[in-house]
């Protein structure tokens, strides 16, 4: 049985009353780590990432009957996770009356106070540069550089064009290079 067929079976079980709970546990086990790292790199704090991942799976639990399977389960989950994370950052920005660059300030503060970071100096410097990027460029950079996704996959998740993603990634890389050279 291929992976697509397995996903279809999983979705069918999720939509069946008697099989739903078992199928949901299987879904969580399969996707939790990928989703967690995707969210964590967006919001930095482990506690925030944990809350958001729970929210994502609860949304999946509540809305699985409305999932029309126009996209793959993987794409649907990542889209929910991305939207939840972006909404969370927007709320933070509004509540703290942060400026346009306010998200970066908040994330850098979270990063510096986060007990769950064990990267070396180079990783730390790279993270600080990434956290200073605008939200969308940061998501694109994370998905391309860290998660090694293809542009086509990213375009499907982020509902945008491959060209726009390539441009965003290019700008992000230039800014990170400038950061390393002390200009940004």
């Amino acid at each position: 049985m291929g992976m697509i067929d397995k996903d279809k079976e999983l979705i069918a079980d999720l939509k069946t009353e008697g099989k739903r709970e078992m199928a949901f546990q299987s879904l969580v086990k399969s996707y939790q780590e990928r989703l967690y790292w995707h969210i964590r790199k967006m919001v930095v704090s482990h506690d925030d990432a944990d809350d958001l991942m729970q929210n994502v799976f609860i949304k999946v639990w509540k809305n699985i009957d409305n999932f029309r399977e126009d996209s793959s389960l993987f794409t649907w989950l990542f889209r929910i996770a991305t939207n939840e994370s972006l909404s969370f950052l927007q709320q933070k920005k509004r509540r703290n009356l942060l400026s346009i660059d306010g998200t970066s300030e908040y994330l850098v503060e979270s990063f510096e106070s986060d007990a769950h970071f064990e990267g070396d100096e180079l990783q730390k410097k790279l993270q600080l540069a990434v956290l200073k990027l605008p939200d969308k460029q940061r998501i694109v950079f994370n998905m391309k550089y860290y998660d090694e996704m293809k542009y086509e996959e990213m375009a499907e998740i982020l509902n945008t064009s491959v060209g726009a993603l390539k441009a965003s990634y290019h700008h992000a890389v230039k800014k990170i290079e400038a950061h390393f050279e002390g200009e940004y």
Binding site: Q25, Y31, E33, W37, H46, Q54, F117
Partner: protein
């Protein structure tokens, strides 16, 4: 379809160390996550949705209350309009006019011509009396009485000039 297969292939690959970007999680985090999630889902199932919980009897009566409020407003406005058309409406009120010197601060009260209440019957009988009015019956004494009651000396002197 090929792209979806690639995605699934990637999902099954062992986790990329680079993906963590130096971040870590507390020990056993992923092992316990599903259990903690289940607890939260069960808690949400047990708790009614906030919107449903706040739906009291007022929520269901809201349309009826709106209609009732609208009717009450309409009724109030109708009564007010009808009363404002009645001669008794101005009874007891003293509308003011500008003082002869033009000073708006010195407002004078108008003579209170409706200082008594008139029923509809009295009003129509008064009209009938006017129709049967005979000028010959208007004696000087009656005229003097009327002027003394309704006009000030100032007005009488001005009218006689």
């Amino acid at each position: 379809m090929v792209m979806k297969e690639n995605m699934k292939h990637r999902m099954n690959k062992s986790e990329l160390p680079k993906q963590r970007a130096g971040y870590t999680v507390p020990d056993g985090y992923f092992d316990s996550f599903a259990d903690r999630l289940e607890i939260r889902i069960n808690r949400e199932k047990a708790t009614p949705a906030p919107r449903e919980a706040t739906k009291g009897w007022i929520f269901y009566l809201k349309p009826a209350l709106s209609v009732a409020a609208g009717l009450a407003l309409l009724l109030t406005l109708s009564v007010f309009f009808m009363e404002s058309q009645s001669p008794t409406f101005h009874a007891g009120k003293e509308p003011a006019v500008m003082a002869p010197n033009g000073n708006s601060d010195d407002l004078l009260p108008l003579p209170n011509v409706f200082a008594y209440t008139v029923t509809d019957g009295q009003f129509f009988s008064a009209l009938t009396d006017m129709e049967e009015y005979d000028e010959s019956k208007l004696s000087k004494d009656v005229l003097a009485d009327y002027l003394a009651t309704n006009c000030s000396d100032f007005e009488i002197l001005n009218a006689s000039k």
